[in-house]
Amino acid sequence: MTVQTRLRAISRSNSFGLFVAILVFVAAFHLLANGFTSKVNVYSITRSIGIDGVIGLAMMTVLVTGGLNLALGAIGVCSAMGVGWALQTLGLPIWFSMLLGVLLGTALGAINGLIVVTTRLHSFVVTLATMSIFFGTMVLLSGSNGFNELPHSLTGFGRMRLFGMVSPLLLVMFVVAAVLFFIYRYTAFGREMLAAGANPFAAKLSGLPVERLFVSCHALCGGIGAIAGMMASLRNGAIVPSMAGPLGADWLLPAFLAPVLGGTLLAGGGISVLGAVLGTVFIAVISSGLYMLQLGEFWIQTALGLVLLGAILLERGRAALALARSTRR
C-alpha cells in the first residue's frame, strides 16, 4: 500500500469523518457559546465522555454477535448496588467490593448469553425480559434504598481534576478501550468472537465454539456494564437505584449512539473501538455545546435523536455512493 492510497483510505474512513466533525463542532461552539472551553465545562465534558464511553463500549461487545443487550442499564445499576452493599453493609475493602461488582455484572451478562444460546431466541426479547427481572429483583432486595456513605477515597477519586480540568473517569474509559482494542486486534479470543458474529454458520463449520463465544460476548458486556455503573455512582457521589432511569432504560440511547456513529455493524462481526470512542466524544461535544447555547435540557434529547438519524442516513448514502462508484468502473 503506497502512502497515497493509505491516506485516501484513512480520509474515507468513518472515524476520520467523525474526527473532522468533532473539530468543526468544537471550533463552532468555542466561537458561539460563551464558556464552552472553560475549565469547568471541559471537566464536565470529559466526565460524561468517560461514563458514556464505557456504556457504549459495553454495548459494542454484544453488538459483535449481531444481538443487543437491553438489560445493560439494569446490569450496571445492579452491579453498582452490589458494590455499595459490599462496601457499606459488609464493610469489605474497596478493591474487593469492586471486584465483586464486576463479577456480578459478568455473571448477569452470562445469564443473558446462556438464555440466548440455549433457547435460540433473539436477544432483544431475552434481554427485555431480564431487564425487568434484574432491575425488579434489585429493587426488591434493596427496598429502593441507595448507598450514600461511600469511602472518601472513592468519592475523592470521582471529584478529582487532573490538570484542573480532566476527569479521571476519562482515563478509566481509555483503559477499557485499550484493553478491548487489544483483545479484538491481537488475541485469538477476540478474533474468534468477531468471526462468530460475522457469520455464525461459517464459524461453526470451521470448528469454532460459537455458542460459548456468544456467551463470552454477553458476559464481557455485563462486566464492562458493571464498570460503567460504578463510574456513574462516582459521578453522583452515591449509589441509587434510579441513577439510570426506570429499569436502567436511560442508558440505551448513549449505548447505541456511540457504537453506531462509530461504524459498528448492527448485523454483527464489525466493530470499531476507536469509532465508538470518537462517537462518544462527538455526542458529548454536541450535548454540551447545545446546553451552553441554552437550547434547554429537554430539546437536547431531540437533537441527539436527530443526530443519530442523520448519521445513519449519511452512512447509508455514502455506502450507496461507494457502491455506485465501484460498479461504474
Binding site: R120, L121, G268, W299, G305
Partner: protein, 320 residues
C-alpha cells in the same frame, strides 16, 4: 373441535380462569364490581398499546417509539385544549393526526433507509420524547375539557367507557389481519419478506402502513390515558414498552413476524391486568410485577419455541 383445542390461546384462557378463581377464593374482594372495574380499565388501555406494538411485530419489525408517540400525542391533546381552546373533537382529531404523522415518519424512514426499525425508532423515540418534555418543560397540562374527563371516569351500564373504545379496536384489528387484503399482505410480508415481494406485495406500502397504524394506536392509547388521569403529563408512555411486547408474546405472537393472534394478545393483556390487580390486593411490592412479567415473557417464548421444536418448524441455528 380439534382445531379449537390446538389454538394458541386455549392454555392461556384456562390459566386465566384458574388464576382468577384461585384469587377470588383467597381474596373475595377480587370479585367486587370495583375490582373488576379496575381490571377492565387497565385492560382497555393496555390492549390498545399491545395491538399498536403487535401490528408492527406482525411484519417482523419493532416500534420502540410507541410510548414516546403516545406521550407526544397526550401533550398535544392536552395543550391544544388548554392553550388554543380547541373543542374536544378538534383536539381528538389533532391528536390522531400527530400520531399518524409520527408513525408515518417511522415507516417512511425505515423503508427509505433500509435500516432496522430498532435503530430508527430508537432515534425517533428520543426525538418525540425530547419534544414532549421540551414543550411541557416537564410540567403537566390540566386544562382538559369536561367531556374528556367524563369519558375517563364514566360508566356505560356496568362497563367503563374506555372499554367502548378498546373493544371496537380489537375487533377491527382482528378483521383487518384476518379478512382484509392489506392485513393479509402484512402477515405474508412478515412471514417471508422475500417471497411476499416476489409475489407482488410492495415492501414500502406494507412497512409504512404498519408503522402508521402503530402510530394511530399509540395516539388513541395516549389520549385514553389523558382521560383516565384527567391530566396530560409527559411521563405518559414511559412504562408501555415491556407490556407492549409482553402481551403479544405471551399470546403467542412470533417476534420474527408473520403471526399475530389477536385473541391471544387480548388474553396476554388480561394476564397482565390480573397480575397487577392481584399484587395490589395481596399488598406486595409493585416491583414484583416487573419480575413476574419478565419471567412470563421468558416462559411464553420458551413454550412457543418448544411447540415449534415439536412441530419441527423452528430455526435450526439462529444465535443472534
Amino acid at each position: 373441535m380439534r382445531k379449537f383445542l390446538r389454538t394458541d390461546w386455549l392454555g392461556l384462557a384456562v390459566l386465566i380462569v384458574l388464576g382468577g378463581a384461585a384469587l377470588g377464593i383467597a381474596r373475595p374482594e377480587f370479585l367486587t364490581p370495583y375490582s373488576i372495574d379496575v381490571i377492565l380499565v387497565g385492560f382497555s388501555l393496555t390492549v390498545v398499546v399491545a395491538l399498536g406494538q403487535g401490528i408492527i411485530i406482525a411484519i417482523g419489525h419493532m416500534n420502540l417509539a410507541l410510548g414516546a408517540i403516545g406521550c407526544l400525542v397526550a401533550v398535544a391533546f392536552g395543550g391544544s385544549m388548554q392553550f388554543w381552546g380547541f373543542p374536544t373533537w378538534a383536539a381528538v382529531l389533532f391528536g390522531l393526526a400527530i400520531g399518524l404523522a409520527c408513525g408515518f415518519v417511522n415507516g417512511w424512514l425505515t423503508h427509505k433507509s433500509g435500516l432496522t426499525s430498532f435503530i430508527v425508532t430508537l432515534a425517533t423515540l428520543s426525538i418525540f420524547k425530547g419534544a414532549s418534555l421540551g414543550i411541557t418543560e416537564a410540567q403537566s397540562f390540566d386544562g382538559i375539557s369536561d367531556a374528556v374527563k367524563a369519558f375517563g371516569s364514566d360508566r356505560w351500564g356496568p362497563l367503563p367507557e374506555t372499554l367502548l373504545v378498546a373493544v371496537p379496536i380489537v375487533i377491527a384489528t382482528w378483521l383487518f389481519l384476518g379478512k382484509m387484503i392489506p392485513g393479509r399482505q402484512m402477515l405474508a410480508y412478515g412471514g417471508n419478506p422475500a417471497a411476499a415481494e416476489l409475489s407482488g406485495i410492495s415492501r414500502g406500502r406494507i412497512v409504512i402502513l404498519a408503522h402508521t397504524l402503530s402510530g394511530l394506536f399509540a395516539a388513541i392509547a395516549g389520549m385514553m390515558t389523558v382521560a383516565r388521569l384527567q391530566i396530560a403529563t409527559p411521563t405518559i408512555g414511559d412504562e408501555w414498552l415491556i407490556a407492549s411486547f409482553a402481551a403479544p408474546v405471551i399470546g403467542g405472537a412470533v417476534l420474527s413476524g408473520g403471526h399475530l393472534p389477536v385473541i391471544g394478545t387480548c388474553l396476554g393483556v388480561l394476564v397482565i391486568a390480573l397480575i397487577n390487580q392481584a399484587l395490589v390486593l395481596l399488598a406486595v411490592d409493585p416491583f414484583y410485577v416487573q419480575v413476574l412479567l419478565g419471567l412470563l415473557i421468558l416462559a411464553a417464548v420458551g413454550a412457543n419455541r418448544l411447540r415449534e421444536a415439536r412441530l419441527g418448524t423452528g430455526p435450526k441455528l439462529r444465535l443472534s
